[in-house]
């Protein structure tokens, strides 16, 4: 058996375990469904009146704030699923389970790969729920089913990038509390300096510069075009290309960290 086959098989069983655990955690599934409801129904209704004002409506680019916000909520949900995913490494280490994985005949990167795959699947599940929920609230994708499929792919890719970051950090961080504070430190400014919830046009100039290079903006823009305006190939191409590149960079970091460094 080549090492690559061993790695992929190993990753599959890590993935299988994560999904089994996820399915057993009824509360976690429930919360992952409830959270987008709260975002959309509460936040969406709260802000809905924004578009009554013609100036803000112009900044947002559509007279329905909810339609503007759906891609943002999808990306936030992908972000948080991915970025907190690394915590499972910390728990595995604490439980002593990590030792078992490390002494198994699988390369170490397959532990990361399996966990990333499981997080991507969970993200796609959550994103589908948001699509369904948005549909019930009257928001439809102008690009139809193919647009929805591509949206799910973008969400998955974005979650994969975020879980790489999380796994990279968790490889060295030993307590959940530390991971939480590091992640909050990173994500909160990232979310609010992106175009996820607010139009960049409404931001001060200096935040607009940050927003332009914010990875969340690159993930949100293509999805927003799929929901609101149609097949905007240049936005799609730029977004996808950059996300893919980021995934490769961060996965390489994780690969290197897992293969070369100590995980215990």
């Amino acid at each position: 058996m080549t090492t690559l086959v061993m790695g992929l098989k190993g990753a599959y069983y890590i993935f299988w375990r994560e999904i089994k655990r996820f399915m057993g955690q009824k509360m976690r599934i429930l919360m992952s469904l409830v959270q987008p409801v709260i975002w959309l129904v509460l936040m969406g209704s709260m802000m809905a009146r924004l578009t009554d004002n013609p100036v803000t409506a112009e900044m947002i680019g559509i007279d329905n704030y909810l339609a503007f916000m759906v891609p943002g909520v999808m990306m936030m949900s992908s972000l948080y699923t991915g970025v907190f995913g690394g915590i499972s490494i910390i728990w595995d280490r604490r439980m002593g389970f990590l030792i078992k994985l490390l002494s198994a005949p699988i390369p170490r990167y397959s532990i990361a790969l399996g966990k990333i795959a499981a997080l991507v699947l969970q993200t796609i599940f959550q994103a589908s729920v948001i699509v369904l929920l948005a549909f019930m609230m009257g928001i439809t994708f102008v690009t139809g089913l193919p647009g929805i499929m591509l949206t799910l792919v973008i969400c998955g890719l974005f979650a994969a990038i975020m879980s790489c970051i999380s796994l990279f950090l968790s490889a060295s961080i030993r307590t959940p509390e530390t991971l939480f504070s590091v992640i909050n430190f990173l994500t909160l400014p990232l979310v609010f300096s992106s175009s996820a919830l607010f139009p960049t046009a409404a931001m001060p100039d200096w935040i607009q510069v940050i927003a332009r290079f914010n990875p969340i903006s690159y993930a949100v823009a293509p999805v927003r075009s799929l929901v609101i305006s149609g097949w905007d190939w240049s936005t799609l191409f730029t977004g996808m290309w950059l996300l893919l590149l980021m995934f490769l960079v961060f996965f390489s970091l994780v690969y290197y960290r897992f293969e070369k460094g100590s995980l215990l």
């Binding site: 375990r17 655990r21 002593g96 078992k100 002494s103 005949p105 961080i173």
Partner: protein
């Protein structure tokens, strides 16, 4: 695969942690196939470090180690396929069922699909968990979890099973339950087992051979019986009836002193202590020597050296004595420093 009948061959292994702490210092030994081998030592002696080297989790800084004829550094993946490792902590996922834990293990060890199911049933039966297989592990008792952990270590039929402190933290009843299953493995699966422990009775009742390790080096290695005999056999302690005449006593002692098995007789606190090489075997000779003399013995006691005595002899410490040494404190501190750095 050439292992020359040796499942483990450790040659002059050293491990020096960053900061210069020597966890292992030139350890060498061999373990033949199908032996239950015990590693004994106080906390921080280097037992777990040695197991980490043999299970490929830690590369030694010096020396060579082979498991089933395979080098633990150069041939990591093949070594891993050959070993089962049951670590000190319970390495099972308690949010899954026992069955799912075993399925996961079978998958991670690349077992053929067709043999997975019968093998899972076989190990479940071996550790007596068949009936609870589909329950979530968080409903299991401590002993059941440990048994499941051992089953996970067995599922791919490794050449050698590493049991790191298999009964640490378990109550006496559960410890005996685990011993029962380890003995069952020895009889039914006939596998090589390397276990670490700091319970003397555990080592004594399970292991064919024992190595005593302290401060990173090997102090002694032999069967428990030989280790005890090397300490100088045993004592027959006896007292005569108070009514016995001193002349008869002198006659008896004289007769005993002539016998070949008697090394020395001393009187201490009104008790005679007869030193011999194996007090149990020599007891009949003792009675033979006194036969015919009109002498009543008040009491006779046998004392064999225990493994505790052996351990005390080699390490200068009582094993159950968990007092923390200077070195251990240093070790803990340095690992805390490592932790802080990574945060």
């Amino acid at each position: 695969m050439h292992n020359n009948g040796e499942m483990i061959n450790v040659n002059n292994i050293s491990v020096v942690y960053p900061g210069g702490i020597k966890a292992l210092d030139g350890v060498s030994f061999k373990v033949p196939e199908q032996e239950i081998f015990g590693l004994l030592g106080p906390n921080g002696a280097g037992k777990t470090t040695l197991i980490m080297v043999l299970t490929t989790l830690l590369a030694p800084t010096g020396g060579k180690a082979q498991v089933n004829g395979l080098d633990v550094v150069k041939d990591k993946n093949r070594v891993r396929l050959n070993l089962g490792y049951v670590s000190q902590e319970l390495a099972i996922d308690d949010e899954l069922s026992g069955m799912d834990n075993l399925k996961l293990q079978a998958g991670l060890y690349h077992m053929e699909k067709a043999i997975r199911k019968p093998r899972i049933e076989e190990v479940l039966d071996l550790v007596g968990l068949s009936e609870r297989a589909h329950d979530r592990v968080d409903t299991y008792s401590g002993g059941m979890r440990k048994r499941l952990d051992i089953a996970c270590g067995l599922i791919h039929r490794p050449g050698i099973l590493f049991l790191d402190e298999p009964t640490l933290g378990l109550d006496i009843q559960t410890r005996h339950e685990i011993w029962h299953y380890i003995n069952r493995l020895r009889e039914e699966v006939k596998m090589t087992i390397l276990l670490t422990t700091h319970y003397m009775d555990e080592a004594d009742s399970l292991c064919r051979r024992i190595a005593i390790i302290d401060q990173g080096s090997l102090k002694a290695i032999d069967t428990p019986d030989n280790l005890k005999k090397q300490l100088g056999g045993g004592l027959i302690i006896f007292q005569f009836d108070q009514a016995a005449a001193s002349s008869t006593i002198n006659q008896a002692l004289g007769s005993l002193n002539e016998k070949e098995f008697v090394k020395e007789i001393t009187l201490k606190n009104g008790e005679y202590r007869l030193l011999t090489d194996n007090s149990e075997e020599k007891l009949p000779l003792f009675f033979d020597a006194l036969d015919g003399l009109k002498l009543n013995l008040k009491k006779v006691t046998l004392k064999m050296p225990s493994l505790d005595d052996v351990f005390l002899y080699y390490t200068g410490r009582q094993l159950r004595d968990e007092s923390v040494s200077r070195e251990q404190i240093d070790r803990v501190r340095s690992s805390m420093r490592r932790l802080r750095k990574t945060r």
